[in-house]
């Protein structure tokens, strides 16, 4: 589904990703771990199409297509979803209007008619229940005045609405208490289908108690320095990142 080969990228002239190679097959869950500043969020930004990251070298292929040539909105319509580490507040734009526009853009892309108002509201209701999001939140402006936990739940809610093939969750667990964490993780698990993939970016093992990864990668200084099964996460939890740094 996703093949990254020798990806190098910089932000404002500073090289952050120094040659990343990674393959995510349909149906797999990958965890991307690593200390602060190792390049995890930059990788997510490249995959989602942020323009401030300059790709210097390497290729990213998504379902056989050159991902790097696709605009951010096209990546979304083709099934890539980025759960933001810091979701943006957009005053004056209602959640309903935001999601209606997004869902209908996705439908148009697939050659489908826009949803009727009542079908759309029905869909919202179903998905809200799935991620246990407060009904009132959907009537407010996008993320405005939401607590940290509400913002993260709202990311999963948007994911539920858009049904992506590849979800990249950038530190969706940070700042969540254990109840919110469980809700977010349950949402991700319920949305997972046999042919969809997830990349979970996280510092901590605790999210991986709920979302069980097939593969765990450790990113350090812009490179993947270790790849193993889910037991690697436990080892990191126990020993910290220092032993990885030392092995470098």
């Amino acid at each position: 589904m996703l093949v990254i080969k020798n990806l190098k990228a910089a932000i404002e002239g500073k090289v952050i990703l120094k040659g990343i190679s990674l393959e995510v097959k349909a149906g797999e869950i990958h965890a991307l771990m690593g200390p602060n500043g190792s390049g995890k969020s930059t990788l997510a930004a490249v995959l989602a199409g942020r323009e401030f990251v300059q790709v210097l070298e390497g290729t990213v292929t998504y379902n056989g297509r050159n991902l790097l040539e696709m605009a951010a909105e096209e990546r979304s319509r083709e099934g890539i979803f980025l759960g933001f580490q810091y979701p943006i507040e957009i005053p004056g734009v209602s959640m309903v209007n935001f999601m209606k526009t997004a869902v209908n853009e996705h439908r148009k892309h697939r050659g489908l008619e826009p949803l009727s108002a009542s079908d759309f509201l029905k869909l919202m209701r179903e998905k809200k229940e799935l991620v246990e999001i407060d009904s009132k939140l959907a009537n407010r402006s996008v993320n405005e005045g939401f607590s940290g936990g509400e913002k993260k739940k709202n990311e999963i809610f948007q994911m539920a609405m858009l049904e992506p093939k590849l979800a990249i969750l950038d530190e969706t667990d940070s700042g969540l208490d254990i109840d919110a964490l469980r809700i977010v993780a349950n949402g991700v698990n319920r949305l997972k289908r046999p042919d969809t993939s997830v990349i979970v970016i996280t510092h901590y093992q605790r999210l991986l108690d709920y979302i069980i990864p097939d593969v765990v990668h450790v990113l350090y200084d812009g490179r993947i320095v270790k790849t193993a099964g889910k037991e690697l996460a436990l080892e990191l939890e126990e020993k910290g990142y220092d032993w990885i740094k030392r092995e470098e």
């Binding site: 989602a48 199409g49 942020r50 323009e51 605009a71 951010a72 909105e73 990546r75 979304s76 319509r77 980025l82 933001f84 979701p87 943006i88 957009i90 005053p91 004056g92 734009v93 209007n97 935001f98 526009t101 997004a102 853009e105 996705h106 892309h109 402006s141 996008v142 948007q158 858009l162």
Partner: protein, 449 residues
């Protein structure tokens, strides 16, 4: 007096008989003093601090025709005109070039003993009320244009809401400007909302023919104790039109008044809104939204006077400027020495869509009391890149994402409008305007160019 001011002074001298013919002696008694003030102050120039960003020269140097009484017109469709505000159930008044186009209904009674009509027509029946309020709230103003209006306006709208009367439906004044000639209009409105009364007023400004127009209108409003008054102004005029409005709201104890200026279109627009909080516990809200492009210029001047303790005021003005459009915001909060416990907020946010668009914003706080809570903030910037990306990352195109952000920005002002049908209609109009679809008067489906 400079040449341009002198022309208007002479216009007054030459036409004083015609100007005063249909007005009451009381209203006429203000004219000589006012023209004296005008000759002293002249037309505002950029040296005047409150007109610092606004140049009136181009519009005032032009030769306009002035009429001092209604002109016979074949514009009989005016009565059908409702600004195409779907489902807006309102008591309508249609004015053509500042006058009532038809004789009938020049003064009529609404439920609850409320009266609306022509100021001249009301002069006899409401003599005491007019003598109590007329000319009082503009008193001492230092803008020559206000005095020019007092000297020369020959009619306008009068609304009287007696004590305790609550009008459920809003009153809608539709100001149409239509002529085969370039014309200069001045009208004068007086609105009296007595104790415990409640009314909402919507004013829609439209131009219906492409000639050059200049309007200088003054509205005085008295809001009595515990009364509630909302005024919403929707301005949609063409690029050859200059609209200058002066609104004076005088508030008594525990009253609540809000003003909302929505400027969708117009060559030059200058709104000055004065809130005088003259009774303890009074609360005022002043909102404004303007969308300008091409060579348009929109200026909002707001003056909030906290004259007594324990009043609250709030200002929120937002602008979106495209092409080489220019804008100005000048907001003044004046807290008098004894006005302890004052709470006053002011916010002005602007988005510039191009490098050529310009915005001048100037908050002014003059505080002479020591126990007050005041804040102000002003921003001039572009659309937020992070927000744009957030929307795009959900599959929304860049164009659509920009529109949504601009709309959201504007909606924060519109959401304060209490009349639901108007709010929805304005959301639509703003969306059309932002998409570049709202051409001259496209808002008017009914017999409107």
């Amino acid at each position: 007096m400079d040449n341009r001011s002198e022309r208007y002074y002479n216009l007054y001298r030459e036409n004083i008989k015609r100007i005063s013919r249909n007005s009451s002696p009381y209203i006429n008694s203000f004219r000589e003093v006012a023209i004296g003030e005008f000759s002293r102050l002249g037309l505002p120039t950029k040296t005047n601090e409150t007109y610092r960003y606004t140049n009136l020269d181009t519009f005032f140097s032009h030769d306009y025709k002035s009429y001092f009484m209604p002109v016979e017109s074949d514009f009989i469709k005016a009565e059908e005109f409702r600004c195409d505000v779907t489902d807006l159930d309102a008591h309508g008044i249609v004015l053509l070039n500042g006058f009532y186009p038809t004789i009938r209904d020049k003064l009529r009674q609404l439920p609850e003993g409320i009266w609306i009509g022509s100021l001249n027509e009301a002069a006899r029946k409401f003599r005491n009320k007019i003598e109590k309020h007329y000319g009082r709230y503009v008193n001492g103003n230092s803008d020559g244009l206000v005095h020019l209006n007092t000297a020369m306006a020959s009619d306008g709208v009068f609304i009287y809401v007696p004590e305790g009367a609550v009008l459920k439906k809003p009153v809608q004044i539709i100001n149409l400007v239509e002529s085969g000639e370039d014309i200069f209009n001045q009208h004068r409105n007086l609105i009296i909302v007595e104790k415990n009364a409640e009314i909402t007023l919507i004013i829609c400004d439209h131009t219906l023919s492409p000639q050059k127009f200049l309007t200088n209108g003054v509205t005085e409003i008295y809001v009595g104790e515990n009364a509630h008054f909302d005024i919403i102004r929707v301005q949609n005029e063409h690029n050859n039109a200059a609209k200058i409005t002066h609104t004076f709201i005088h508030q008594e104890r525990n009253s609540n008044a809000s003003s909302n200026n929505i400027t969708l279109h117009g060559g030059l627009v200058r709104n000055s809104t004065h809130h005088f909080l003259g009774g303890e516990g009074a609360e005022s809200h002043s909102y404004g939204l303007f969308l300008a492009d091409k060579w348009q210029h929109v200026d909002n001047f707001v003056n909030v006077d906290h004259a007594v303790p324990h009043c609250t005021s709030n200002q929120l003005f937002k602008g979106v400027l495209d092409d080489m459009a220019t804008g100005a915001f000048n907001g003044r909060i004046y807290v008098h020495k004894d006005a302890q416990g004052t709470v006053a907020y002011q916010q002005n946010n602007n988005i510039l869509l191009t490098d050529d668009a310009k915005m001048g914003t100037k908050p002014q706080l003059e505080i002479y009391a020591d126990d007050v809570k005041c804040s102000h903030g002003a921003t001039v910037g572009q659309l937020d890149d992070n927000a744009l990306f957030y929307l795009q990352s959900r599959g929304i195109s860049k164009r659509e994402a920009r529109l949504m952000l601009m709309f959201g920005f504007a909606h924060e002002v519109i959401q304060n409008i209490g009349v639901e049908a108007l709010r929805e209609r304005l959301d639509n109009l703003v969306m059309q305007r932002l998409k570049g679809e709202l051409s001259r008067c496209a808002s008017c489906m009914v017999k409107c160019g």
